[in-house]
């Protein structure tokens, strides 16, 4: 018999996993959308857009489903936290949903609507991706600041919005560096370096401000006996940024080894940042207001869904891996409808 005390812990771990997978997978989809080029007077940018969108075409829908799972787990396992979060983030959520709608439908409309409308749908694609990323970053900032509505909190949320957008662009660019060739790949490497640096600045800003404004967070990171151990996270993160930047520079100058490395190192950076955030707040689910046990739903409901999750999530991961295996290799070989 499962001890009821552990059920919320298992579910927060599952939810964290879903959020992290979402941020990496839909992160690169959104990043690719944000990076879509619209060069004036250049015909090559249309074919670059085609290749870029083709590189995420088979995956985006399943990637987006991790968001539905994450929000579903919040709803199922922590209904009280769900209500608080949804209440405070009402307008940013509405804007994010509009962004997701625009991005999602643009995939099909750009390829199927009248040819004269393709450019407009490509712009919609980019705008939808940008809107989604900015609102997600804004929500992250608001969440960290405990839904404060003062100007400092708003400023922080704005920085966070830019930071998340840069991070998605970063992983999107490294995805393109992995999946594309030739001129587009060169472009992607440039984008990756630039976005990586902006992202780094964003991560530093958030890491400095977060412990300064949240005393609990400060205590956890700096007054704990394990301070040397936990500081490994930022140290590793810093090293990963530098290493990635060096790899990208070498690849820009023609080094054709390790094409997949930047993408996976960026995913590692995502995981490290996420672990850092989780460490700052666990076991609180709404910072400063409620912990996971206060927010949890009935044990009989959690057990019922846990059985399903334990059986189904490995299957989902297996066929997701199968799908990436089917569409391995460079995107120019991909036949898009």
């Amino acid at each position: 018999m499962m001890d009821d005390h552990w059920l919320p812990v298992i579910f927060i771990a599952l939810m964290g996993l879903a959020v992290l997978i979402y941020a990496v997978l839909d992160g690169f989809d959104l990043g690719v959308g944000i990076l879509l080029p619209f060069d004036a007077g250049e015909t090559s940018s249309e074919s670059q857009r085609d290749t870029m969108i083709a590189s995420i075409g088979p995956f985006w829908d399943a990637n987006e489903t991790w968001l539905v799972l994450a929000i579903g787990l919040l709803l199922i396992a922590f209904p009280h936290a769900h209500s608080v979060v949804m209440y405070h983030l009402y307008i940013p959520i509405a804007i994010m949903l509009i962004g997701l709608i625009l991005r999602g439908v643009a995939f099909d409309f750009r390829a199927k609507a009248a040819v004269s409308q393709k450019l407009a749908w490509d712009r919609t694609f980019k705008a939808g991706s940008l809107l989604t990323s900015l609102s997600q970053g804004f929500m992250l900032g608001q969440y960290v600041m405990g839904f404060d509505t003062g100007w400092q909190a708003m400023l922080f949320a704005a920085v966070s919005a830019l930071g998340v957008t840069a991070a998605y662009s970063y992983i999107g660019a490294t995805w393109l560096a992995l999946k594309t060739e030739g001129a587009l790949r060169q472009r992607a490497l440039h984008w990756a370096r630039r976005c990586g640096r902006i992202c780094f600045a964003g991560v530093v800003a958030v890491s400095v401000i977060n412990p300064l404004v949240n005393p609990g967070v400060f205590a956890r990171w700096f007054e704990y006996p394990l301070v040397m151990f936990v500081l490994l996270i930022p140290a590793l993160c810093f090293a990963a940024f530098i290493w990635n930047d060096m790899t990208l520079r070498r690849q820009l100058h023609g080094d054709s080894r390790h094409v997949a490395r930047p993408f996976f190192v960026t995913a590692l950076i995502f995981a490290l940042c996420f672990t850092g955030l989780a460490f700052s707040f666990f076991p609180e689910i709404v910072p400063g207001r409620m912990d996971i046990w206060e927010a949890a739903s009935a044990p009989e409901s959690l057990r019922f869904i846990l059985v399903g999750a334990v059986l189904v999530v490995p299957v989902i991961l297996a066929y997701t891996a199968f799908s990436y295996y089917v569409f391995r290799g460079k995107t120019t070989e991909l036949r898009y409808h």
Partner: protein, 459 residues
């Protein structure tokens, strides 16, 4: 004055009405695609592949609209109806969770392989992917209808301190109205997809498409509809009998019966007047409603006056029901005429093709009106007997909801117009494409930057 409750209700109605349009097509269209693909695999006849290729693109577009509007739905509960999750979250949460776990990932992942993987996996794996997408859409229906039915006829739970806790998941899922509603909804999707396929195929033929694929698709769709439409009448009747038992107030609104009486006429026309609690300009067939609802011409039907203050607005339910039934009868007539002509090997006249084009979206009208009967008929309850909408709504300021509602409405109107316009573009484009009988079936090339000869193979 528009308050948060009314705005939230309008927003939920707008979201779900927009959303349901697309699953209503894709649930059954997925099975049509599997059938086309399977026929091709078994016979090697390229015409099945051409039918598949055209409809898989329509499926992709429709599915994408369903996905994005579905994500909006999944946020609605928390953003606008926090009381709903507070009170029945222990029941609703896991059902929604199982929908995501068993259906959403399955259909989304294999959709990628179905759409883009035809040259990358063996044919059997591709056909299997098509099957898994169809299974995914149907599983999704299973879970969401389980939740919806539980809200109509709750069972298998107990209340502790006013919060619902699960007792038996079997009773929760297989609650009294679940089986009828699930079959009713699946058949509705079958009919919606069948008339959608027939309408667009007829449109292509009217625009000079002389190929076999649209004729074959039209024939298949109408034969399916000829079987499903009368079946739907039967299931609808059983569903109605079930509702008499568990939600008599909804039946009273459907039939426009104010006072409990015996030998109730079936009203073909009436203007229900909620103010004076009576009907005007009634035209009815004597005793028929009693016969249908109790299978006895003198059977007693409970009237709305027994449920004062606890029943739905009568007019919308009364009229939605009649629109749904009228669509159903029209579908039977059209499907049977088309099937009869097919059986007699008579070609379909231009006039009849125009009728089919006019009926392209008849399934949408029937599905929406049926949905309104079920959902408006449940008012003022969110969960019948457990939770009213007033208890569940958020206490956000109306301005916030007004802003989000305006954004959604604007986007939905644009997308609906773009969707129908794009279907037209796709149908017209397919008329111009030539068929190459010798083309290998695996050449599904139409990457926008792939050369035109490869692209020509798509029907």
């Amino acid at each position: 004055m528009l308050d948060t409750l009314l705005l939230s209700r309008i927003q939920f109605a707008a979201n779900i009405s927009f959303h349901i349009l697309f699953p209503a097509i894709t649930i059954a269209l997925g099975w049509f695609l599997f059938y086309f693909k399977l026929r091709f695999d078994l016979s090697g006849n390229p015409v099945w592949m051409r039918a598949y290729r055209f409809w898989v693109k329509v499926f992709a577009l429709t599915f994408a609209l369903g996905v994005v509007s579905g994500i909006t739905m999944s946020f609605q509960f928390g953003t606008n109806w926090p009381g709903y999750m507070e009170k029945v979250g222990n029941i609703a949460g896991p059902l929604l969770g199982y929908e995501v776990l068993t259906a959403f990932f399955l259909e989304a992942t294999f959709l990628g392989i179905m759409l883009f993987g035809i040259n990358r996996v063996p044919q059997k794996v591709h056909t299997l992917s098509t099957l898994l997408v169809a299974i995914g859409t149907s599983l999704s229906t299973f879970w969401i209808i389980a939740l919806n039915s539980w809200m109509q006829t709750p069972a298998g739970h107990e209340l502790r301190d006013g919060i619902a806790f699960p007792v038996s998941w079997m009773e929760i899922i297989f609650n009294p109205s679940f089986t009828y509603r699930l079959i009713h909804v699946l058949l509705a999707s079958g009919l919606t997809a069948a008339f959608f396929i027939a309408g667009i195929s007829a449109y292509r033929m009217l625009h000079g498409d002389s190929k076999r694929a649209p004729r074959l698709a039209l024939k298949t769709a109408m034969l399916v509809a000829a079987v499903l439409a009368p079946l739907q009448v039967l299931v609808g009747d059983l569903h109605g009998l079930d509702t008499v038992k568990y939600q008599p107030a909804k039946i009273a609104a459907i039939e426009g019966v104010w006072e409990t009486q015996k030998g109730v006429p079936l009203l073909l026309f009436a203007i229900p007047d909620s103010e004076n609690r009576t009907n005007h300009f009634e035209i009815g067939i004597p005793r028929l409603a009693s016969l249908i609802l109790t299978h006895d011409p003198d059977g007693e039907v409970k009237g709305l006056n027994e449920f004062k203050g606890e029943h739905a607005p009568v007019g919308p339910v009364f009229w939605s029901f009649r629109v749904m039934v009228a669509c159903g009868l029209l579908m039977i007539a059209v499907a049977w005429i088309a099937s009869y002509r097919t059986w007699r090997k008579q070609p379909l006249s231009t006039g009849f093709l125009r009728v089919l084009v006019a009926c392209t979206f008849i399934g949408w009208v029937a599905t929406l009106s049926g949905w309104y009967v079920a959902e408006i008929g449940r008012q003022p309850w969110l969960v019948h007997g457990l939770l009213t909408r007033d208890e569940a709504v958020t206490d956000l300021a109306p301005g916030n909801v007004a802003l989000s509602l305006s954004l959604y409405l604007l986007v939905y109107v644009v997308l609906l117009l773009a969707y129908i316009q794009t279907l037209r573009v796709m149908a017209k484009k397919s008329v111009e494409v030539e068929e190459f009988e010798t083309e290998p079936p695996t050449l599904e090339g139409s990457l926008p930057n792939v050369d035109k000869t490869a692209r020509g193979s798509s029907t």
